[in-house]
Structure formats: C-alpha cells, structure tokens
Amino acid sequence: MQLLIYILKRILQSIPLLIIVSLISFFIIRLSPVDPLAELKLNPSVSKETLQKETERLGLDKPIIVQYGKWAKSFLKGDLGITSNGEKVSTKLKERIPNTLLLAVVVIFMTWLVGVPLGVLAALNRKSPLDRILTVLTSIGMAIPSFFFAVLLLLFAVKTGWFPVGGLTSSNFAEMPFGAKLLDLAHHLVLPVTVLFTISLAGLQRQMRANLLDVLDSDYVKFAKAKGLSDFKVVYKHALRNAINPMITLLGFEFAGLLSGAALTEYVFQYPGLGRLILEAVLRSDINLVMASLMMGSIMLIVGNLIADILLIITDPRIRVKGGAA
C-alpha cells in the first residue's frame, strides 16, 4: 500500500517535469530557421487541405505561445499529428519504440549478467593481475567512441559476412516460422548489442567493484569475519547484498545513457529505433516527429528512473522503513 502511494506520488511529480520538458523542447525547435512544413509542401502526394489543416493545427501563423498551447492540447488528446511525409506520428513511434526498448533491455540484462560477477571478482582479488587486467580492459571499453566502434564492427561484418549489416530483420522476415524469426532478430541484434554492451559494461563493473570494496571495509563485515564465518558466507550472504543496492540506482542512469548512446549506434547500423528516428526528424526539421519522440524519450527516461527507485525500495529495507519518502 505504502509502495502504491509512493508510486502515485512519483507519477504526479513527473507531470510538471514533463510540462517543462515539452516547453523547453518546443521553444528550441521553434527557434530553428527551417520552415517546418517545407517538405510537406514539396511532397506532391500531400493535398492542399492536409497542408492547410496542418498549418492550422500547429497554428504556425500565430505567436509561439499559442502554438505551444495548440500542440499541448492535441498531445493530451493523443493526437501526435503527421510527419512531413504524411505518415501518422503515432504509428511511426509505435514501430520504433519497441525496437529501442528491446535493444536497451537486452543490453542492460547482459551487462548485469556479466558486469556484476566481474566486479565481484575484481574486488575479491584486489590488486591481483586479474584485477589489473580488468581495469585496463574497462578503461579501453570506456574510451572507444561508440560510433567508431560501430563502424569497425560494420567493417568486420562486411569482410566476414557473418553478420547482417543493418536493420533489425531480414527482408523475408514475415514468412519465417516463429523460431526462425527469433533467430533472425538475434542475429541482427548481435552487433548493436556488442557496441552498447562494451561501453556500458565498463562503468558497471567498476561501480560494482568499488561498492563491494566499500562494504568489505565496513565494520559489520569485519565483525562477521571475526566471528569466524567462512569467507564465502561473509561475501555472498552479507557483503554482496549490500553492495548491490546502490547499483540499482545506477540502473536508471544506465537506461538514460543507453537511450543517448543508442542514437549513434542505431544511426551507424541503420537500426530502426527511436534514436535514429529523432535524428532523421531533426535533419528534416519535422516538428511533430521531433516533439513526439523527444517526449517519448523523456517519458521512457523518467519511467526508467521510477522503476529503479521502486526496485530499490523492494530490495533495501532501510528505505522501506523510512516510509519510502526518498
């Protein structure tokens, strides 16, 4: 019950946040010198009526604050408008958001699966050659520019022909049986996931190592050791559980970083995700599409942080006792 109230409170808190986000984005975009309807006007398949309707809907002839009001009103009604190609923004988003989420979730899952054990390993063997090697490897992982790494992998894919070089599905995807579909998806995901995985793994491993070292240094762990508990029990039963908690806060940050980092990776791999969508939209100065994808990106980020905070409440009894008033 308490948790429910907390979640509700957080959702209410994020509403003003989203309003400010939309204001900021709207004003930035309207600063742009490019005519937002330029492409629509050039497109012969878009009729005059649509154009007129769109001009009116956006209120392009009115002052900017009225324009914003109009946009906000239709946004609340769930009408996201049409793109400069005449497609519906909402269909476009529905198509792209799951792809970006898929990428982010797979990457987060994998980094946790690998990063946490590696962090523990490094912390338990502090200053050993293994720890040193891991530190060097993570330094390298953090320093590779994502787009450059992506380009190198692309080169690798083209040369070996082992991996498809773009998109998310093969051209004959629709006719495949279910199992083959999954395999095809996985095959396309390997390269983009590798890029994002390498880059976010480094930070996670380091954080985990530092946390565990912090905890191992604390009094209660020393006490447990003094009491004669086996090292195994001390580490896995007492230290680890406390070292993991701060990592959950990191989950929110990681998600945010992935949304940003994915944009460049998606661009290089021609991956049909939100990041590439917004990039294309920005280059075409497609207001509706930019606004909608910015809002979706922000909502995803806020929800990601919320989920991380809720997980933290569930796992960390100390926060629960305080009444969840984080």
């Binding site: 190198l152 944009a263 920005v282 100065s285 990106g297 922000s298």
Partner: protein, 355 residues
C-alpha cells in the same frame, strides 16, 4: 595542492604514460602548422582518395639513398569500373626536412614557410593518404585535433561557472527558489542528453563563420551538461551551509551572493577538479559524435568527428582504411584523459582510498 596531485600522477605508471601521450598530442597540435606538410585547406583534386605515400630509403639499384617518394597515378580501370592507384616511378621526389613549403601563418600571426617534413613542389607527400577532396589526412588530423581537443575544455569553462552559481544559489536559498530551480534542472536532465544535443545543434543556422559555429557548439555542449553538475553542487552546498564559518560570515553582514561565492563554493574545489577531469572525455566524445552526424563542426573545417564522417560509407572503410585514423586518435585521447581522471580522483578523494 596542484603540485601534490601532479606528483601522484607521475608516480602512477599508467597516469604517467597518459600524461606523456597527452603532452605529445597537445605539443603536436600547438605546432600543427609547422609539423603538417600541408595547410588545412590545401587540396589537390586530382589526388582524391590516394593511399598513404610510400617512402623509400633504398633506391632501385639496391643502394641506401636519401628518403624519397613517388607520386601516385590514378587510372580508371574500365573493365572493373574501378580507379587504380599506381606509383609514378618516372620521377623521384626527395623528402625534405625543415625545408620551404607552403606558406602559412604560425599560430595565425607569424608568416612562415618552413615545414618539419615536406617534399618538392611537384611531389605529394601524403603520410596518411587523402580524403575525397584530395586533402592530406595527416595535416587535417593535426588541424582537426586543435578543435576536437580544445572544445571539451572550453565547454567546461562555460558550464562550470553556470553550474556552480546555479547549484549554489539553489542550495543556499532553499525553499521555493530551490524547488523551482531544481525542477527546471531535473527537466533538462530528463531529456536524453544526446537527443537534446542534436535538437540544439539542428537549430544552428547555416552560413555562419567557422568561429561562430565553433563557439555555438561550445555553448550547446555546455547547455546539455550543466544541470547534472548543478544538482551535485546543490547537494554539497546543503551540507555546508549551516556550518559555523557560514554563520560567521552571515553575522558580519556578508551579502548572500558574497557568502555563496566567497565561502561556500570554494568548499567544492576538489570535487570540481575531479568532475572536470572526468568529464573532459565525454565532451570530446559528444563533439565528435555530433560532427560525425554532420551537425557539429562543418566542412571545410576539420575535426576528428567530421573526418570520420567519410568512414560511414562501406567502400571507404573497406578500401581506404586510413580514413579511420581520427577514430583511433579520439580513442587514445579519451583513454589518456580517463586514466588521469581516475588517478586524480584517487588522490583528491580519500574516501575512495580502498581502490
């Protein structure tokens, strides 16, 4: 304190290597005009996509010779529809050191003609090949580095005062001021940073001079990064604002802004230094990412990011691998900054001693 930090950096093996590497890079960038065989805008259209020049020290008779190179010849192979590059062995071009070459203005001020390495006027010395416009990649790497390696620092110098003041005011005043200011900062942080970066960059009008564009990119980078920093500063201010020295300053009648600037913000110095060194690489990466997409530094100016733009094409990365060199430089620079940042954090943050 700075001396102490430097001493510790020198003691650490990795950090020392990183310092030396960065020192070399910045040294080369400073003397770029002199080191580069060509000027930034030199282009020979007949020499597009030429591979790196081969330098010979043993001549055709098998004898040791002064280093020399041959120009490349471009021929079109009609059968395979490919351009073939072959060495034009009819004329030797000796490589000359400290010789007269293209005129330039050293640091934009002193007119000079000497280059560290060059060849005779008819010869072409492309140490790392050329790009689509027949421009020397090696020279452009040096000039591009000037932009890529300074833009991050400049952005930080814009961002840190803003973040410090914003966080300081928000934390010190507290109450309504604080919550309004923090909501705004949180909203900025809720937009995925790269999305914010590209919409800001897309607003820049075309037809600006390169200096204007450079300055605006600096400001954009700062606009994206200040919020997170301001939030941390606010937290630190909250933790010191009720200590005795602040109360003392208040009781002798210091103004509120004076207290924030003179007494509270100096408490955050070591955090600021750590945060600055740790965030330089992320700004280098942001700029190169932006330029890679064509939204940052624009042609004909060079930056490591926009030089990599050509690597987006398959044919380029497969048959012209020298176009990838800017990526390796970004990698090396970022790695070096990270290593130094890690060590500085260990030195200045005693809590992290366990590492």
């Amino acid at each position: 304190m700075i001396k102490e930090v430097f001493k510790q950096l020198w003691k650490d093996k990795f950090a020392r290597i990183a310092l030396i590497v960065l020192g070399l890079i910045y040294f080369a960038l400073f003397f770029a005009d002199f080191i580069a065989p060509y000027t930034k805008d030199f282009s020979d259209r007949t020499m597009a996509y030429v591979p790196p020049s081969k330098i010979f020290v043993i001549d055709e008779n098998g004898k040791l010779s002064k280093p020399y190179t041959y120009n490349y010849r471009r021929d079109f192979d009609g059968e395979n529809l490919k351009i073939i590059y072959s060495l034009d062995r009819s004329q030797k071009h000796y490589v000359k050191f400290f010789a007269q070459g293209q005129p330039y203005k050293f640091l934009g001020l002193i007119p000079m003609k000497r280059h560290l390495i060059t060849t005779d006027p008819d010869g072409r010395l492309f140490l790392l090949g050329t790009d689509i416009n027949g421009r020397d990649v090696f020279s452009r790497l040096l000039f591009g580095g000037r932009i890529s390696m300074t833009i991050g620092f400049l952005a930080l110098f814009v961002l840190f005062p803003i973040g410090l003041l914003y966080g300081g005011i928000s934390g010190y005043f507290g109450g309504k001021v604080d919550s309004v200011m923090m909501r705004f900062a949180e909203a900025v942080m809720s937009i995925p940073s790269f999305y914010l970066l590209i919409i800001l960059a897309s607003v820049l009008p075309s037809g600006m001079t390169s200096i204007q564009r450079f300055m605006l990119i600096v400001i954009i980078l700062a606009l994206v990064g200040w919020a997170g920093f301001a939030r941390v500063v606010r937290g630190m201010v909250l933790s010191v604002k009720n200590q005795e020295f602040v109360q003392a300053a208040r009781s002798i009648g210091q103004s509120r802004l004076g207290i924030i600037v003179k007494h509270i913000l100096p408490q955050t110095t070591s955090f600021v230094i750590v945060a600055m060194t740790l965030s330089v690489p992320s700004y280098i990466l942001s700029e190169s990412g932006l330029s890679f997409l064509g939204l940052g530094i624009q042609q004909p100016d060079a930056s490591w990011g926009n030089m990599l733009k050509e690597a987006q094409e398959f044919t380029n990365i497969i048959s012209r691998p020298w176009l990838l060199t800017p990526g390796f430089l970004i990698f090396v620079a970022v790695l070096a900054f990270n290593l130094i940042g890690d060590t500085i954090r260990d030195v200045l943050d005693p809590k992290m001693d366990v590492r």
